[in-house]
């Protein structure tokens, strides 16, 4: 190993990267765009408000009071529907997924129950709904819980079962805090894997390796400088992602020693896979295709973008054999949950995987263009 040679190689790599705008884009801008887009989409998830259409056929103070109660719940943005029109037709025509109808006689039934204590007095509030809408069941659940509370209060007794929530997290976290470690893991994978594949395949095809094999640079120098280069890129893109996440979304993430540990392990693991692919695929194009074939399913199935619990059981099991899963979950364990034991366990798994593929990658990377 010769540090001067490694340094010279690193300088060439970094200059090439800096001068190649598309590589810059995919390594740094692309993850940031993902963060911005998804972060904005899910930013207001916690205080999301639903549209609710209400047709008040009773037009009394009591009915108005009920509507006000729904409004005060805070989950709904209420629009009144003209009592004169057919609510079903109206919902159909205007593509409205839920119209709540307060029936005529609401106030009189209400008074009958409260003043005469008539247990038989009741009202039926009708939902006119489009069951194909994704949010309608959530809306009805919220409405039902509001009505249940009103019913319970009207009995005049305090509720028997109360609930209390204790989060297992030291503090409440949002989707963006879940998302950022996933994007860091994803960009570690794409930069290292496609970086290693593109570079090695291209160099081989362009005959640079043939020239290099007549210089004193050794395979070790070459691989070491590539690893260092990928590591530097990964650090730059991670810092960029974190800066944007802090600046735009004010995320609260724990930055500790596990972050560099996972960056190093992920770089070794994915550069290793890249080196193996380069050897398997002779042409630069097929190596890139093979890299995409590995990267895209991994991106979606290993929980970079959404929690694994959303996927069917067999896919969840499948995710557990994907290396990216352990980088995702390891980073989340350290950055979100501050769970050092899980971080340690996942770093051990990805570390063992990295050791195996990297050694295989080194063995399969032939320096001479032996034809």
């Amino acid at each position: 190993m010769n540090l001067r040679v490694v340094g010279a190689n690193l300088v060439v790599r970094i200059k090439s990267f800096y001068r190649e705008k598309s590589a810059m884009f995919f390594t740094i801008a692309f993850p940031i765009i993902l963060i911005l887009v998804f972060g904005t989409i899910f930013m207001n998830q916690d205080n999301m408000s639903f549209d609710l259409y209400v047709q008040d056929l009773d037009r009394t103070n009591s009915a108005a009071h009920l509507v006000n109660t729904l409004k005060l719940n805070g989950k709904f943005k209420i629009t009144n529907v003209d009592p004169a029109i057919n609510a079903t037709q109206y919902a159909k025509d205007n593509k409205i997924d839920l119209v709540l109808i307060i029936p005529k006689g609401y106030e009189s039934s209400f008074n009958q129950r409260i003043e005469s204590n008539d247990a038989n007095a009741s009202v039926t509030i009708r939902y006119i709904s489009d069951p194909s809408s994704a949010s309608v069941s959530t809306k009805m659940q919220i409405l039902n819980s509001v009505f249940a509370e009103i019913n319970q209060r009207m009995t005049g007794k305090s509720p028997f079962i109360r609930t209390a929530e204790t989060s297992i997290l030291s503090k409440k976290y949002r989707f963006i805090e879940f998302f950022v470690p996933g994007i860091i893991a994803m960009s570690l994978m794409t930069a290292s894997l496609s970086g290693a594949v593109n570079m090695n395949a291209e160099l081989r095809q362009k005959g640079i390796i043939r020239k290099l094999s007549t210089t004193p640079i050794t395979r070790t120098d070459w691989i070491l400088s590539n690893i260092l280069y990928q590591f530097i890129l990964s650090v730059i893109s991670t810092i960029a992602i974190l800066l944007v996440s802090y600046a735009v979304f004010n995320v609260s993430l724990q930055i500790n020693v596990w972050l560099p540990v996972f960056i190093v392990l992920a770089v070794f693991a994915f550069v290793g896979i890249g080196m193996i692919l380069t050897r398997v695929a002779k042409e630069a194009e097929s190596a890139t295709a093979a890299a995409n074939f590995i990267m895209f399913p991994m991106m979606f199935l290993s929980g970079s973008f959404f929690p694994l619990e959303m996927m069917p059981g067999f896919l969840q099991t499948f995710a557990r054999i994907l290396p990216l899963y352990y980088v995702n979950e390891g980073l989340r364990a350290s950055m979100v949950f501050v769970d050092h034991m899980t971080a340690l366990r996942y770093s051990a798994i990805i570390g063992a995987f990295a050791a195996v593929v990297f050694v295989l990658g080194v063995i399969t990377t032939k320096w001479e263009d032996s034809k």
């Binding site: 010769n2 001067r4 010279a8 200059k15 640079i208 043939r210 001479e368 034809k371």
Partner: protein, 317 residues
Amino acid sequence: MTKEAEHAIEVENLTKRYGDLLAVNDISFNVRKGEVFALLGPNGAGKTTTVEIIDTIRTPTSGKVTLLGMDVTKKKHDIVPRIGVLPQGFSSFDRITVRETLQYYSRLFCSMNTDIDGLIELANLKDKSKEQFKNLSGGLKQRLGIAIALVNDPEVVFLDEPTTGLDPRARREVWEVLLGLKKKGKTVFLTTHYMEEAELLADTVAIISKGKIIAIGSPDHLIESNANYLGLTLKSVDEKVFEIVRKMGFEPVHDNYRSIKVRVEHTDDVRKILNAIKDAGAPFLGMDLRKPNLEEVFLKLTGEGLHEGPAGGRGTE
């Protein structure tokens, strides 16, 4: 070991097989220190395989190659710092400039005092030194490749087809650089399929065909011993002239249109033929007398006739 002092390269019974294909078939030759040695042959003759075995890119199937007194299969690490290579189809990092590329390679050799400016000047790349590799033309790339092959001030320089794929002007510009290299007294091992290139640059030419070396020597020696004649071309002659020349005991052949070609031994023969034509009163529009070159040698040695050869149809000069 006086041989070692005299020879930069010694090749003994070198053979290289790729599966069933015998690319290099038991060849032997030596390259003297300080000479320009050209391996001349058509595509697929085994030139690149041979040079890549000598400059340590490939390994031989059998045979022994000694470079600067060292076995190339055993002493790669000691050999590499002492040689410079322009591989076939040379390429470099797209977005790195001429100067940066030279600096990069000089760092790979850990050469502290490489004269980068001197190399840029030698390769005539002064006004391109800040240009990125991808923006260079084919000829400029090759000239940069030659300069790169010199960053470690090597004792032996290998140039594998340095002018293939270049237009005639770019080729001439590369030759300028190579002539400058020759003046420096480096041992140069060159492969080419351009006869003029070998003739212009080489002290020794080895002609290789189908994996075998079929002739070796200085260009003059090869021409003298294999093509000891002059080529006379008579342009736009009467049909009578053909008969006159034939009757004089020569073997004229028809060229295109109404020209004929005759091989003669001496300039005296030319005078005799011209006189005979003049006496017969037959008109002709012009003549051309040419010494044979390596092309004729190659065509003769590979058994291909002068006119039906793949390089036929050359214009007269």
